[in-house]
Amino acid sequence: MMIAVSTPLALIAELTHRCPLHCVYCSNPLELEHRAEELPTEVWSRVFGEAAQAGVLQADLTGGEPLARPDLVDLVKAARGAGLYVNLITSGLPLDEARLDALVEAGLDHMQLSFQGAEEGPANEICGTGAYAQKLRVLEWLGRRRVAVTLNFVIHRRNIDQLDRMLALGESSCAGRIEFANVQYYGWALANRERLLPTREQLERSVEFLKRAQERLRGKMSIEFVVPDYYAKFPKACMGGWGRKLILIGPGGDVLPCHAAQVIPNLRFDNVKDRSLREIWETSEAFQKFRGQEWMPEPCKSCDRREQDFGGCRCQAFLLTGDAAATDPVCSLSPQRSKVDIILAAVNGSAEESSARPNWVYRANPA
């Protein structure tokens, strides 16, 4: 049966897996790609053109740390020149004012600056680097430049009670948007899950706080909030549906439906060095595998929500149940929901939170 292929809307370009930070919840795969495998400037430039041709509107330049690419200014220029809206997702390291000027001059539309919290010590502990002071400098530089800014706070058990400080930092800055994104449990975050998952009580308090903030700041600043889906009743529409809206290209040119797809066994990825992006989008085995509804098991297949959440996340299904084609087990209708409930019970049942520093698994850095 033919599966209808929609137009991709955004290209997530993981320009490199190198990064000066070592965040304990990094969304990169556990097997990081090396510098020698990274696509050169010309290939990325061609890919941006192919993406725009295929209907892509926005390029999210990310990593690793995209600033680790010496040719980043040229890449921004190429993406903007292809007609894309250019978004840089960055930690702000390594950056100085001259390079920031060059990026803005090259056509950068929007910068998403990540923060690990609004307190220097704990924030630096999470990223395993003394990055906080530099982030504040970058934020100040951004206020004097013509570029839109989003602050991205990654939220977890150890900083979820400090949302008020994060919000205050955001409000005192040039940012037009703040994202409070709870950690999602793949890769490095999965390795640290028991130390990162907030308790239900913490989560409920934080939702209340952010609803009030949204109300108060309506029209002035937009506040986005992503909950940890383990606590949700229904799964997230991961990536807006597999192969429906988003394309991710890894540092070496492999084209993936999402950040974590490499964890799914026997999924074959095409590479932009071998085929055009449109061809890959439309016919690649990895994209076709979970497109549409043919692959769905019950209860998804006959569920009223199948067009809303598309069965949830394939990678999470695999990581928690061993079957990538299972209903996302965070769904309350999943026959395997108990796998998630056991994890939550352990997090919520534990006695007093220890203030001792956890035994973090820090993200490695590839050569």
Binding site: L57, Q58, G83, Y85, R146, G176, G219, E224
Partner: protein, 104 residues
Amino acid sequence: MTPELNSRPVLPQGCRLNDKNQQPRVLHMPERALRLNGPSLEIIERCDGRHTVEQIIGELQQIYSKAEPRKVAEDILGYIARLHDQRALDFASGPAPERRQNEK
């Protein structure tokens, strides 16, 4: 919130129209894009910090002269208010500016 008739809507930092030769026409915003059809494109093209809301209404009433003028005005006011709530439109202050600085 109903926009003031003498206010001048302007696209904030990070929001811009794609190029004239690109199809479909969209309003880019951080993390999303809004597809624009005839009237919505006509409105957004005039959100340049120089046109007042009243001028935008007047010009669209001319373009869509077959529609009821009061309805055109209501639709435009509603559209502008909605985009402002979504932070896709700001209102310029002071004399009609050439270029806007990133605001604090």
